[in-house]
């Protein structure tokens, strides 16, 4: 075998290897991040799938319903209702101090377990705040689109994970 043809054969081997690695990366990404594996469910999806999801650790994203937050600092007990603003509600129970940006009307992603289906209740293990992509000066609340952006980002493709 000449040097040249050996080189060509080796180079083909490496290209095949690279193609396999590339295909594997694309496959893993599409399975891991495709619609089969959503990062969080919306409240209406969680309500619809409550029976399947009961007893499993899941993430559900929604908005904190104003007037529902009850916080007992002495025993680190937090209760609130999150909703998709379309009537699907989840009562959340969390133990621990909430993140600084947690407030009524804020976007949240709750990681935990669904403990009751009717009405839907969740025991939170990890409470995360989802904020919008808007940055503005303090006091500059004119034409703020903060809430609309947040709703658009949280309730994207609602119902896709059913």
């Amino acid at each position: 075998m000449t040097n040249r043809s050996r080189n060509r054969k080796n180079s083909l081997k490496w290209w095949l290897g690279a193609a396999v690695i590339g295909a594997a990366i694309v496959a893993i990404l599409s399975v891991q991040l495709g619609n089969n594996a959503v990062y969080f469910y919306t409240p209406d999806e969680a309500v619809a799938k409550a029976a399947d999801l009961a007893g499993k650790t899941v993430r559900v994203g929604g908005m904190v319903t104003p007037g529902t937050v009850v916080w007992h600092a002495s025993d680190l007990d937090l209760k609130f209702t999150m909703s998709d603003l379309k009537g699907h509600e989840i009562a959340v129970q969390h133990h621990g101090a909430p993140p600084d940006m947690f407030k009524e009307g804020q976007g949240v992603v709750v990681e935990g377990m669904i403990v009751a289906a009717q009405p839907l209740q969740m025991n939170s293990r990890k409470l995360m705040v989802k904020h919008s992509e808007e940055y503005k000066k303090p006091g500059d609340h004119n034409q703020s689109i903060d809430k609309a952006l947040l709703e658009k980002s949280i309730f994207k493709d609602q119902g896709a994970a059913q």
């Binding site: 180079s11 490496w14 690279a18 990404l29 940006m101 904020h131 992509e133 940055y135 503005k136 303090p138």
Partner: protein, 242 residues
């Protein structure tokens, strides 16, 4: 003794002009970077929702975009290396992969530090964070592969191929917050309907992005230049330096 002589000859040959250009542009870029950081800390207003903590955006976003740029130039150097089979472009790839890995890690670390007070967590496996983590892994594996293979045509082919593949992750990272539900918020600057940032904040952020991208290319230039010097010394003295 002969090695020392070769070294002295080399340092004289390596074009003092290039060396002076690197130094001068480095001083200019560091001055710009310090000016941007000064503005980020003392000049731009605090954010209405997040308060002072959002100021880390002036480090976080520029390092992420600098990592994307380094990956782009890595792919470009990969294409040029495959085209010309010139070892010079492989040296550039290594320098760009190193600078890109530095910026990716910086973006991950600053993001994590920002995530704790605002989101309430240091880390979560959403699409944006996972694909950025993947970029760091890919750049690290590129560097491992580069140092493991013996120099020659095969290393040029394999490393350049991987370098081009790595860049495919960049548009996925960028679009991840649009394609999938994530904890990370969608794009602020490049979006339909215009930027969602106050103009005085945006000006400093864009200055930061431009400076950080140039800084990364400068680091790669500095590194490629010293790798090139090492390679020439190796070929003259027979010592294994790089």
């Amino acid at each position: 003794m002969t090695q020392n002589t070769a070294q002295i000859n080399m340092t004289q040959n390596i074009s003092p002009k290039t060396s002076r250009n690197i130094t001068l542009s480095g001083i200019a870029l560091w001055a710009c970077l310090l000016a941007v950081w000064g503005a980020a800390i003392a000049v731009v207003p605090a954010d209405a929702n997040q308060g002072e903590v959002y100021r880390i955006i002036y480090l976080h976003v520029p390092s992420a975009i600098a990592a994307f740029s380094a990956s782009f130039f890595l792919a470009l150097a990969g294409a040029l290396a495959l085209w010309t089979r010139d070892e010079k472009f492989l040296t550039w790839q290594r320098a760009l992969a190193e600078a890109g890995l530095l910026m990716t890690v910086l973006a991950l670390v600053t993001g994590s530090i920002w995530g704790k007070p605002t989101w309430g967590t240091w880390w979560t496996w959403d699409a944006r964070l996972t694909t950025t983590f993947l970029l760091a892994i890919l750049l690290a594996s590129y560097l491992m592969l580069h140092s493991a293979l013996p120099s020659g045509r095969q290393r040029i082919a394999v490393c350049s191929g991987l370098g081009i593949l790595i860049f495919a992750d960049v548009p996925i990272i960028y679009k991840s917050v649009t394609w999938w539900r994530t904890l990370h918020q969608p794009p602020t600057i490049i979006r339909s309907g215009g930027s969602t940032m106050a103009p005085e904040m945006l000006a400093v952020l864009i200055a930061g992005i431009v400076t950080m991208v140039l800084m990364t290319l400068w680091l790669a230039w500095l590194r490629a230049d010293s790798l090139e010097l090492g390679r020439e010394l190796e070929s003259q003295t027979g010592a294994a330096l790089t």
